[in-house]
């Protein structure tokens, strides 16, 4: 069982978390023209890196999304940080 660190609540068991998606994926503006392949890439293509990954996760009890950098090979967690911008 892995331990992830929610930036708001601290260390918790992995069962409290849900994977949301790979970081850096931006929804294409659907008001414009988007080709089938571009849309399919957004929906289905994942980098699925072996090694260092950047992912968005949600901590279910507090419902906050955060960014997690981890190693998909060793399962080591390199760090987590809030998604929202700090004030000021």
């Amino acid at each position: 069982m892995q331990i992830f660190t929610c930036p708001f609540c601290g260390e918790r068991n992995e069962t409290e978390f849900h994977f949301v998606g790979e970081a850096g994926k931006v929804r294409p503006a659907t008001s414009g023209e988007i080709s089938e392949s571009e849309w399919a890439r957004y929906l289905y293509a994942q980098r699925n890196d072996l090694g260092s990954t950047r992912e968005i996760w949600i901590h279910l009890p507090c419902q906050e999304l955060f960014l997690m950098e981890r190693d998909s090979m060793t399962m080591g967690v390199r760090g987590t940080r809030k998604l929202r911008k700090e004030n000021g």
Binding site: M1, Q2, I3, E14, H18, V20, R27, P28, A29, T30, S31, I34, E36, W39, L43, I56, I58, L60, Q63, E64, L65, T74, M75, G76, L83, R84
Partner: protein, 932 residues
């Protein structure tokens, strides 16, 4: 002659005699005995039968490495299957039965199978039972296979407790290495837990004379005392069975026999493996005869249990140095021939038990043959954690190499057998220091092998894998070690290859001209020892595994005679009253159409969406335009996935400019709220938008039917309910007796419906008053089953029942936003994909059956033609409508919307019938009743 109990020696308590039976015969043992040692002490040689050939099997190992002594144990009226004889302690009154043998291990009727071994090689079943169809033979073969029996009436009290724990340093194994390490770490101030799977600490130290100048027993006691004094924790009879992610170590602690073991999830900062090593077998002809056992096991039976395994003993060694065992056996009264095994021919003889060995043509009589093929470090946990192994030529064994983060192996588990080296290594590792001095290893010759020699040479004792099977595997090119394992089942027995893996690898290496490290090992996986499945689930079963959400009015529903069933995670009334549930649902539906039904709709979603950005957000989340919804009004809509598929349907109420309530499906609230929350934080300013699930803050009771308004009026709500000021699809909030009250006009039945929501604390009063008023006009409570009929009569869908993973809103007749909505919304691009424009899409239709026909079967296919049927759609909902007095159905059908009036064939389980395609709405299609 066979094994016997000595009058003195061992760690058993001769003052406490325990009676037990084995295959119906009565025996006795002592407190401290395992099942295996007690049987040996009584001279029992055959303790079971092998899996495939039903060959007689004797005890091989004295602890976790024994693959042979497996019993069904009956105690206290309960039967416990597959108890490992070498690790289960004897309890007075146990009734043991050998597994895989009938009527007994000694006389097994299937023993004759062994005569056919020539035709029963690896892969025999798959090759032989190919024609005409494997499935014809499978039931018979399955009946013959398998170990143990699961008797009905297992103890309900057999429940595993589970706990979580943590420590700075976890030391696994309480032998010399583990004790020295744990003490050093404790005394340096670390939080240490030391576990050992035996009842007492010290490992095999009790066999040696002294440690660091003191008597071994005193040394062990001194370490235990020092660990306790320094605040270390010692867990006995506790096995570390697996290492999982982030240094979570699974510990299982035995309790009294008959009680499920306790599971401890130990989170360790660092882990030291002091798990020791196992003696491995030698491969020679007839090496499976009862009476042949591991040298280490014989030493253990003598030292720990006071059992001498034979009077005339032959020891067969493959390089392992003499460490006093010959003297110990001789002192106990045995005649010992200590033989080093060379390259020459070697076989054992005897029929049901070993009677001697033939070495290089010389017959040597023996009643016990003790075998040592060299010691294999127990590296299972090391490998679970991701550690690497390297092959050590000197000791002919895989030893720990690259360490997983936070792990170190010490002592025999690291291939270090010298006691002084072990202690130095343990103390350095305990403090996190590296070990510079290379430890002296234990020499062993590479595993020897005689190919082409007559006689069967066993590699896996339990599963009957012989050298011949490995040869066959190599010949048929299953030469990879993982293929070898699966083709021959080598290492798949309940000991998971603890005895057989090395011999198997060595054989494959020799047969294919490779070295052992080139062949490699199979993957080590948890658990290290077999565990009862109860250990894993603990109390997570039944309602605790899947807790249901409960209604505030559950007691009232029960009092009203409700049958409570699970609907989408909620325990809800399915129907009220006794008798046939279908009849009850029909009666309730009829009542609701004639008078009024009261439905507990509390589980309906009530997710609040608030903030200055709420309107734009709702417009983005919903397929339907929500920006134009005026405060105080309600609108029906769909949420889609980005693929354009219907994810949920429900109504949205706008409570103010910046506040909406999402009333999603009852079973879907958690999913919808998470989806909203993710969109809120991903792409929106979370300081201008807030989402809060208030579903369980309210009890909602719905009045539906022509008399709904009469009952509502009787409730004397502080609201004007007249349709002119409170029309259909409107919502009002007010205050009643100081409590909030919410009333909505929204209908899932096609009749006038009034949804009244109050705080759960006011629910009982509201329910009682409603029931009284409804009774006066011939109405009453209705359950979910009746509601399902009422909504189906109107053609209202349930997402996930009347839709599937491809259904888009335009398949359901809601095409307008797809064509006209200008702003972006979730699923918009998906709705214009090639698939979305397919003219053959399955669309929602109704189905009518000819007069007098039965109702259709839900899930039945609508087929193109009855002869060579090809599915064009599926019946999604089917009921008998009491209102219309005929069956009704909803279906998804290819090109359905343009096929109204067509006759189609419905196919189900080889039977077909006819139906006519019609509009989904079968009742009051103009909607007159809604505004009555």
């Amino acid at each position: 002659m066979s094994a016997e109990r000595l009058t003195s020696g061992g760690k058993i308590d001769r003052g406490q005699q325990l009676s037990f039976t084995f295959d119906g015969m009565s025996y006795s043992g002592f407190k401290g005995d395992t099942l295996a040692s007690a049987l040996l002490a009584n001279g029992v040689r055959i303790v079971g039968r092998s899996f495939k050939y039903h060959r007689p099997r004797g005890v091989w190992g004295a602890w976790v490495d024994d693959p042979n002594a497996i019993f069904n144990v009956r105690l206290g009226g309960y039967e416990f299957p597959n108890c490992a004889g070498a690790t289960t302690y004897l309890v007075d009154g146990m009734e043991l039965k050998a597994v895989n043998a009938w009527p007994s291990a000694r006389f097994d009727v299937k023993g004759g199978l062994d005569l056919f071994h020539r035709w029963l090689g690896a892969g025999f079943y798959y090759k032989t039972f190919m024609w005409p169809d494997w499935h014809l033979f499978e039931p018979m073969i399955r009946k013959m296979a398998g170990l143990g029996r699961l008797e009905p009436g297992l103890s309900e009290a057999y429940r595993s407790d589970q706990s979580h724990d943590q420590c700075e340093l976890l030391v696994i194994g309480g032998g010399a290495a583990g004790l020295a390490a744990a003490r050093a770490a404790c005394e340096a101030g670390h939080n240490v837990v030391l576990v050992d799977d035996h009842a007492e600490m010290g490992g095999a130290l009790y066999r040696v004379g002294g440690v660091e100048g003191t008597d071994a027993a005193d040394w062990v006691a001194a370490q235990v005392n020092a660990i306790n004094l320094a605040g270390g924790r010692i867990l006995t009879e506790t096995t570390a069975f697996g290492v999982f992610d982030h240094k979570l170590v699974g510990l299982v602690q035995n309790r009294t026999f008959g009680e499920a073991p306790k599971l401890i999830r130990m989170r360790a900062g660092r882990v030291l493996l002091a798990t020791g090593a196992l003696d491995r077998p030698l491969t020679f002809a007839n090496n499976d005869l009862p009476g042949i056992m591991s040298l280490d096991a014989a030493d253990e039976f003598l030292g720990r249990y006071g059992v001498l395994v034979g009077r005339k003993i032959v020891i067969l060694r493959n390089g392992r140095g003499e460490d006093g065992i010959v003297d110990r056996l001789k002192v106990a009264g045995a005649d010992v021939a200590d033989l080093a095994v060379g390259e020459g021919n070697l076989s054992a003889y005897g029929r049901k038990a070993v009677r001697g060995v033939i070495m290089d043509g010389n017959m040597i009589e023996a009643d016990a043959v003790l075998v040592s093929g060299g010691r294999t470090p127990l590296v299972h946990l090391w490998c679970h954690a991701g550690g690497k192994l390297s092959w050590d030529d000197y000791s002919s064994a895989f030893v720990p190499a690259i360490a997983p983060d936070g792990f170190a192996a010490i002592g025999a588990a690291n291939g270090t057998f010298d006691i002084d080296d072990t202690l130095a290594e343990a103390r350095a590792r305990a403090l996190g220091q590296s070990v510079t001095k290379a430890a002296r290893r234990d020499p062993a010759h590479p595993p020897r092998l005689m190919t082409g020699w007559r006689g069967r040479q066993w590699i896996d004792f339990q599963h009957d894998v012989t050298l011949k099977d490995v040869e066959l595997s190599a010949r048929e090119n299953y030469a990879s070690v993982e293929h070898l394992k699966r083709y021959t089942t080598l290492g798949m027995a309940s000991d998971q290859g603890k005895t057989s893996n090395m011999a198997g690898l060595a054989a494959m290496a020799q047969l294919t001209g490779r070295t052992i490290p080139e062949v490699g090992t199979t993957t080590f996986r948890p658990p290290f020892v077999p565990l009862p499945i109860e250990t894993y689930h603990g109390h997570h079963r039944g309602q605790l595994f899947h807790p249901l959400k409960r209604l505030a009015l559950e007691a009232e529903h029960r009092a009203a005679g409700a049958a409570l069933c699970e609907y989408g995670g909620w325990l809800r009334p399915g129907w009220y009253g006794t008798g046939d549930p279908d009849d009850r649902a029909q009666d309730e539906a009829r009542m609701a159409r004639r008078s009024v039904g009261i439905l507990d709709a509390s589980p309906l979603g009530k997710i609040e969406v608030m903030g200055p950005d709420a309107e734009a957000f709702m417009n983005f989340i919903y397929y339907n335009t929500m920006a134009t919804l005026a405060p105080g009004n309600i609108r029906y809509g769909f949420m889609l996935t980005e693929q354009g598929v219907v994810y949920d349907d429900g109504v949205v109420a706008r409570m103010g400019d910046n506040r909406f309530i999402v009333s999603c499906s009852s079973s879907h609230v958690d999913g919808v709220s998470r989806m909203l929350e993710i969109w809120r934080q991903d792409g929106n300013d979370p300081d201008r938008l807030f989402i809060h699930d208030t579903t369980q803050n309210w009890t909602t009771l719905t009045l539906t039917g022509p008399k709904a308004r009469v009952v509502a009026k009787g409730l004397e709500l502080p609201l004007d309910l007249s349709p002119e000021v409170f029309p259909h699809m409107a919502i009002r909030e007010c205050d009643m007796d100081g409590n909030p009250l919410r009333v909505a006009r929204v209908s899932f039945t096609g009749d006038v419906s009034i949804e009244i929501s109050v705080r759960p604390s006011r629910a009982v009063a509201l329910w009682n008053r409603m029931c009284d008023l409804a009774r006066e006009v011939g109405g009453g409570p209705i359950g979910i089953e009746a509601l399902s009929i009422l909504r189906a009569e109107k053609g209202f869908i349930i997402v996930g029942k009347d839709t599937d993973g491809e259904t888009m809103p335009h398949d359901l007749g809601f095409a307008a936003p797809r064509m006209r909505k200008k702003t972006e919304y979730v699923g918009d691009r998906g709705l214009h994909s090639e698939a979305a424009n397919d003219p053959d899409r399955r669309q929602l239709v109704g189905l009518a059956v000819p007069a007098g026909a039965n109702r259709l079967t839900t899930g039945a296919h609508i087929v193109s033609e009855p002869v060579n049927p090809k599915s064009e759609g599926i019946v999604t909902s089917s009921y008998f409508s009491p209102t219309l007095d005929r069956p009704i159905a909803l279906a998804l059908l290819a090109r359905g919307s343009e096929r109204h009036g067509q006759t189609v064939t419905i196919w189900h389980m080889g039977q077909s019938c006819m139906a006519t395609v019609c509009a989904p709405c079968a009742f009051d299609s103009k909607g007159d009743r809604l505004h009555a």
